[in-house]
Point group: C2
Chain length 572, copies 2
């Protein structure tokens, strides 16, 4: 047994799922509730003059303060209460990353209600399903999404009693056919700030997100005030967030609660930058704002960082972002992406791992000082690709098919199972999904396959359903994608396993070449040979114009497998 | 109403003391317990190879790892369980800052028991009082404190059933007349590491400290696992602690749980340095270790930092500690001290405020970026003297004599009252003290007078009982001490109010001059005149060899007031 190894950890952690025992009562304020309301109230006191910068619907930038935003939050709460929002009410939010969305993050839970994030990239029918499944009765919607909201309403059976349009303009100008419509701004300026807020139990749901893009209908995850608070602490600690940080909310605020960064930013008193509505075409605007406001922290994903890097490359002089950390989720960031950003701007891309079910931060990639000393630069870059170290508070189990823990040896591959104060224990009112997604010890089964090594680093080897099973052996589609992504002629790449009559499955490679480049099967084999055995090399390479992705930027492998189902002749 | 001001905050915070209301149930792992056991178990997994450096009883330095220490902790737990420690047991610790004390910090609570810190600077009679009042049945004692333990035992009525001597030598060599004695090391090597630890309720007490130095008998504060976890998060966030920090435990681990830094260090995976037994005479050893291990964080107090600064000045080349933050509690650090350390080593002295009752961190001095821009260097140094910004999670009320909140305007002086998840709600089994120390809203009354300004900065103006009431006006003894402490001829200084037949009280100044310097009443008046009115100047200045201090380094004003009670002729 080595003296400094996580190897036998799976036998060390106390069984948190067992009944609790009580020792001596403490004298502490253990009944003081950890709520997002307390979070903002305290921040508005201790960081009163700290700034929140936001871009309105016409593209203009404005600045407000924590103290002023706290007054706005309590005015919004007063208005919502007047229209029937009370403890237990679920309020849908169909919004971009703007100041009103940010206010709603705190105003809705302050009343003991739950904000339900509506993913504007889902179909109107799926959004309507989320609304009805979570019993949403009030919805706040951006003016620019009023048309979509109208489509959603057609699928609803009248369960939504109030719509609030968030607009910089008079309500009459909003092109909306919705019923029972109010202006968010007039509702929120109608009342003075609420003075008396309820003392909400920390185990009440403050927010909710629905999973997307896998099998079946979206599944609801309801975050508690407590889990949100603890998760914010975990992020602040793991990203070393500071009072002099500037946090730009760069991923959608409707998706996995924006990596929890709105809460972590408030907790640390950081300056917050809200870019409003934007699409990939607005990348130059985002990059300019990063430079202008000296952004130091942002939630991200490879699908967002790729165009950002592209933009840096176009600039005569990329901005100095040497204090910046991009927390990168969704899928493994290629070394070429991390290195490209670092070399041009000094910014660090930090790979983190999680899901809607995990709030999302379960692991964060940081290099242990005890390891760094013995590694060269290439090894350090390679280590950065791993999902990193499990955050304190999160239990990790690498489970064999029977649910038994496998050793943390960097070799034993099993399903990654997670448990902890900000990991879900069930899906909202969904007994069918709950049956298979949680094990007997209360772990959430991620559906990802991976290893943990003796130093504690988690490595996702594949989605269990994305792994390519060829002749009884496994081929990692992710490893193959990453190897190819590093080649200069490759703009985008996907590897999927498709049915093969002899081998069960075989890898198929889809490549988007960079403009003017030629990518042949031969070249692909040549690039892959340094990391892969001959039998693993794909028989077919398809040149495509675009790779299909889900609403959060993950490669849509389900769809690709369907499209290319017959590429190798189909199943036996 | 300004847009960025904390001024109306006292009306903003939700009334946490009121009954809670419940909204929608979350789906999260809200029943996952926040325990110090989970904290170390997870750290031993994620930071397995990170180091813990310790100095043993013979002065030799050794290095171990988080993973190895976790195995040791579970062996100690196994041994203690064998000798009757179970959920609800209270285990006394009479120990220096060594590795065994550190192990005990986690081993005792892992069993659902409570570690009761015994302040080795109290009299044997007072220690015995603490032991009996908290119903301690097992005590772990450093070999070097075995004599003291023997004195303590004489005052006990047989309530302690087991003593464990922590020694590097055979038990037979320990000069001890204690009964039922075991060797800590043989107890802890007798068993394999405990595999199955109980799932302890987070509201159970993990540790306890007793208040010292004020009126009456010591009063017990019992910290919960939950409060310890949340407090660790608060420290880590407010000090921006990182995986590459090195934390030296420089204040006694028996006192206010060492500022919470043992827990915050483990939570962030920092390297930990335990200097073992030391006194002021060992300052050169401490300073050498700071340089050797590149210490970046340490809990401190002016009484510790003064000799450290003195040592830096003696050195040909003071060490580069430019990444270091000394978290300084107990009393306001003079600018001369903060500046002296900064100029010689680059280290930052961060003033923080709290007490045994507050875990202790309630406020931390950080300069808001929005303020820093408009301040010059002198203003920034001056701001650093304040107690700083209340930590998120802590409610502050500046109370008038009726307990009503005063505005946060930087002028209204009232009693500082605190409430929050890591602030005590009562003293342990002490109805008499509880009667007066807590108000109707559940705030702990600190006994300190102070203001909060519109930016949120707390400033302690005085201990309510240390303030000098002269002719119906107040004179701040702390301000007067700080002004005098900055003068080059003054090595140490105290200002107390003593009875005066005409004015009620008048200030009396005690000065320890630096070697060879002459300090006259005239000089004192000259120094004070820049900050004080003529009527406030002290009539008497006493030159003394030493200033009486309490066991934690605070000036013992109670004792000084007694000694000099007749200096101005006594009460009318």
């Amino acid at each position: 047994m080595s003296t400094g190894s996580a190897a036998d950890h799976h036998r060390q952690n106390p069984p948190a799922g067992r009944p609790t025992i009580f020792g001596t009562a403490s004298t502490m304020g253990d009944d003081e509730q950890l709520t997002t309301t307390r979070l903002f109230a305290d921040a508005a006191r201790s960081f009163a003059s700290q700034e929140i910068v936001y871009r309105n619907q016409d593209g203009q930038w404005h600045t407000t303060t924590y103290a002023e935003t706290w007054r706005r939050i309590r005015r919004v709460a007063a208005g919502l209460r007047e229209y029937g929002v009370e403890p237990g009410t679920r309020v849908g939010l169909l919004m971009w990353n703007d100041i009103r969305h940010f206010e709603s993050y705190f105003a809705v839970p302050a009343l003991g209600a739950t904000m339900v994030q509506l993913n504007l990239r889902l179909s109107p029918k799926d959004i309507a399903y989320v609304v009805e499944q979570s019993q949403v009765t009030h919805i706040i919607v951006d003016e620019s999404l009023a048309q979509l909201a109208g489509e959603v309403e057609k699928h609803l059976s009248g369960s939504v009693s109030r719509w609030f349009i968030a607009t910089d303009h008079p309500l009459s100008a909003a092109q909306s056919r919705l019923h029972n419509v109010h202006s968010y701004d007039s509702v929120s300026t109608h009342n003075p700030p609420l003075e008396e807020l309820p003392n909400v139990d920390e185990r009440s749901a403050s927010g909710a997100c629905f999973t997307t893009g896998t099998t079946g209908r979206p599944k609801g995850v309801f975050y508690s005030h407590r889990s949100t608070w603890l998760h914010a602490d975990a992020i602040a600690t793991n990203l070393c967030m500071r009072l002099d940080d500037t946090v730009m909310l760069l991923t959608p605020m409707f998706h996995v609660q924006c990596w929890g960064l709105p809460f972590a930013a408030v907790k640390t008193g950081a300056r917050i930058v809200l870019p409003g509505r934007f699409t990939m075409q607005d990348t130059p605007m985002l990059v300019d704002a990063m430079a202008e406001y000296e952004v130091t922290v942002a939630p991200a994903a490879p699908a967002i960082l790729n165009p950002v890097l592209h933009r840096f490359r176009q600039m005569e002089q990329a901005p100095d972002l040497s204090r910046a950390r991009f927390v990168c989720g969704a899928s493994e960031p290629p070394i070429s992406l991390m290195r490209g950003i670092y070399e041009l701007t000094g910014a660090e891309v930090i790979h983190a791992y999680g899901a809607t079910e995990t709030s999302p931060i379960a692991t964060v990639n940081r290099i242990l000082p005890t390891l760094a000393a013995s590694m060269d630069e290439e090894q350090r870059w390679d280590l950065r690709r791993s999902q990193g170290l499990a955050v304190i508070g999160v239990d990790v189990k690498i489970a064999d098919p029977l649910g038994e823990p496998l050793p943390f040896d960097g070799k034993s591959v099993g399903e990654i199972c997670l448990r902890g104060p900000w990991i879900t224990k069930s899906y909202f009112e969904n007994p069918e999904a709950n049956e298979s997604a949680f094990d007997e010890e209360g772990y959430w089964r991620s559906g990802d396959a991976g290893t943990v090594d003796a130093d504690g680093y988690l490595k996702v080897t594949d989605r269990l359903k994305d792994v390519i099973k060829s002749g009884g052996e496994w081929i990692s589609s992710i490893d193959m994608e990453n190897t190819l992504a590093g080649h200069g002629d490759v703009a985008d790449v996907a590897v999927v396993g498709v049915p093969h009559p002899k081998w069960g499955e075989r890898p198929l490679v889809l490549v988007v070449p960079v403009e003017g480049a030629q990518v042949t099967t031969e070249l692909v084999h040549q690039v892959l040979r340094k990391d892969f055995a001959d039998w693993q090399l794909p028989e077919r390479v398809e040149i495509v114009e675009e790779i299909a992705r889900t609403s959060v930027g993950k490669i849509n492998k389900r769809s690709l497998r369907e499209i290319y189902a017959e590429a190798y002749g189909g199943s036996e």
